[in-house]
Symmetry: C2
Subunit: 363 residues, 2 copies
């Protein structure tokens, strides 16, 4: 205990290397920006990918009713299986199954948000020291999770001039012996070491967040598409093991899932899509008229990216500078492009296209 006492005088507790490697670029950049809106103009925040935040994209009443029914049933308070209730996995399998790609409950793993789905998929496929290919531009979480796990990332390019088609040549050149998997859009599918053929095994990650507009509920899933049984040997068992570490999503949301998927009316989905489309067009048209700005029409994303020709804006030093001035003068808060690195243009802004009333104010 002499040893312990002498130590206690110089307490110096270091955080782990993993925690230091875990880096969320949105937080890191935004938290260090000068955010001082023009006091004469109400703030219009276009920087957060949360469809619920302005209250103009509420979820459907059937979704809320499904939750209350699950609470009232009293049947969903105990532990579920670590990969989720059989009945909830059945419901997801039925919802996404199609003749070309049939799914059963055993092909579904319920997770705490799409984020945990992505984490499990990367952790089961790749070891520290290996690499994974991720799209650029793309969602920053892939990099955050991979780097935090000690896995390297390489960016392949999406081509905006070809509706975000993959630059296959460039992608192929990146693949080496240490490439464990390739993350592809849309629907955030994971494709392992492949040229995207139809018998490639795929872990497809999704969730309630964007389509049902309840991102806070943390309900996500992995769909295992594997018609050639390539994942049977190790990957399925590996996913089950990993799911036992902290278990999956809240059982009330699991209990509500069958009704959420089956009772939400088609009009709800259609309404969201046309709303987003209307706003995307509005933004695109308005921004197109500004010399030096090159908006890129989104295909399915909730963000709209805008290329900026820096020659047309000599007074600005960087995208961060541009964003800060937009806040200071117009009280309009966009995300600087440093957050979602892109290969071609100098810099972009991300404009959230899901807040109609307020977007009309911007222009």
């Amino acid at each position: 205990s002499g040893r312990l006492k002498s130590r206690r005088t110089k307490w110096n507790v270091h955080a782990s290397e993993m925690s230091k490697r875990t880096f969320n670029p949105i937080r890191a950049i935004v938290d260090n920006m000068r955010i001082e809106p023009n006091p004469n103009k109400a703030m219009i925040s276009l920087s957060i990918g949360d469809p619920t935040i302005f209250g103009n994209l509420p979820t459907d009443d059937k979704v809320l009713q499904a939750m209350k029914d699950a609470v009232d049933s009293g049947r969903f308070n105990g532990y579920a299986s670590s990969i989720g209730y059989q009945s909830s996995r059945d419901a997801v399998a039925n919802f996404y199954s199609c003749p070309e790609s049939p799914l059963e409950a055993k092909d579904v793993i319920l997770t705490s948000g799409c984020s945990q789905a992505i984490e499990l998929a990367i952790s089961v496929l790749a070891n520290p020291g290996q690499n994974i290919l991720i799209p650029r531009p793309g969602f920053s979480l892939y990099k955050t999770l991979a780097v935090s796990l000690g896995i390297e990332i390489k960016h392949y390019n999406l081509l905006p001039e070809r509706s975000w088609e993959i630059d296959l040549k460039q992608m192929e050149a990146l693949i080496d012996d240490k490439t464990a998997c390739i993350i592809v859009f849309p629907e955030c599918k994971f494709i392992a070491l492949s040229s995207l053929s139809s018998n490639v095994p795929i872990l497809s990650c999704g969730g309630l967040a964007k389509r049902w507009l309840v991102p806070g509920w943390r309900m996500g899933w992995i769909l295992i598409h594997d018609r050639s049984n390539i994942f049977n040997r190790e990957i399925r068992a590996g996913l089950v093991s990993l799911s036992q570490r902290i278990l999956g999503p809240c059982t009330i949301v699991q209990g509500a899932l069958e009704n959420i998927l089956n009772k939400t009316p088609e009009e709800f989905y259609d309404g969201t899509i046309s709303f987003l489309k209307y706003n995307a067009e509005l933004c695109f048209d308005a921004l197109s008229m500004v010399p030096g700005l090159q908006p890129i029409r989104p295909c399915g994303a909730m963000y709209l990216m805008v290329g900026i020709d820096m020659d047309d804006f000599p007074e600005f030093e960087s995208d961060i500078d541009f964003t800060e001035r937009l806040i200071a003068e117009q009280s309009v808060f966009c995300l600087p492009a440093t957050v979602t690195p892109f290969h071609k243009r100098n810099l972009e802004l991300c404009l959230k296209t899901n807040s109609a009333v307020r977007l009309e104010e911007v222009f």
Copy 2:
């Protein structure tokens, strides 16, 4: 693409080393046991630590009402901060704050179950190659999580003959330069490199599961007790970074938390405790009368351990064998001790003490 084609003929996707290191002993042992109950006796399962499973320990109505109110409010569908809503963290801080150990919202991190709290606490304090000290007997998840992260574990002993006091001498002998933290009971507190003095910084992990009897809801928390500000330099920031990987618990449960903590009547907690106590006594008294069985009175646990003197049971080879025969003859399913290793006795059974009616059937 020649390279890709030649590869595609021998698809051989291996699961990661992490997934192979992730080992849940309860699942691994129980899934390999012969579980064939006596067809003439109804199965009595005492093997699962889930208080809800027999329906005789329901949660309080206020808890259910709080959930429905959170759904109806429409305020808890979007993303919360990665460490949880400020208002929910305030509620937890108020609930657990006491003059000797004051807590504010900044000292609370909401997590997806106590399991994620334990995962974050271990991940922020220890690096692969370091070790942590965990109690024996104890909950198997500490080992599962640490080993999955590449962190070594060392067992210190709890002394049943002294009400589960820590064997401090033996514990101290285990501490070396690579010891990152010590996990201690009760209330699953984490204590870093210390002889348990009052100015040791502590991460205390808890959640709704056991006290409010809703383990499926996955609501947990870390309470940061750190009056000497030792965690300010790196650990707090590290916990925030790690919380951003997959975010925390369902926002509906977060939204309900304030009412759950403040409106649940005292009688509910008292009722649960006296129910558990009654059953623990019942088990203890009945088992004490059996020659060769040495039940250990639980202090706060939902399990009751039973030492077995193997000399008195020459016909059994192992604890697994004993458990299988108990199922085959009496349809009573206990957990064999291999699941929660113990230092002294040959072998134990874990009896869940939370199912009154059915326990009375056992004896």
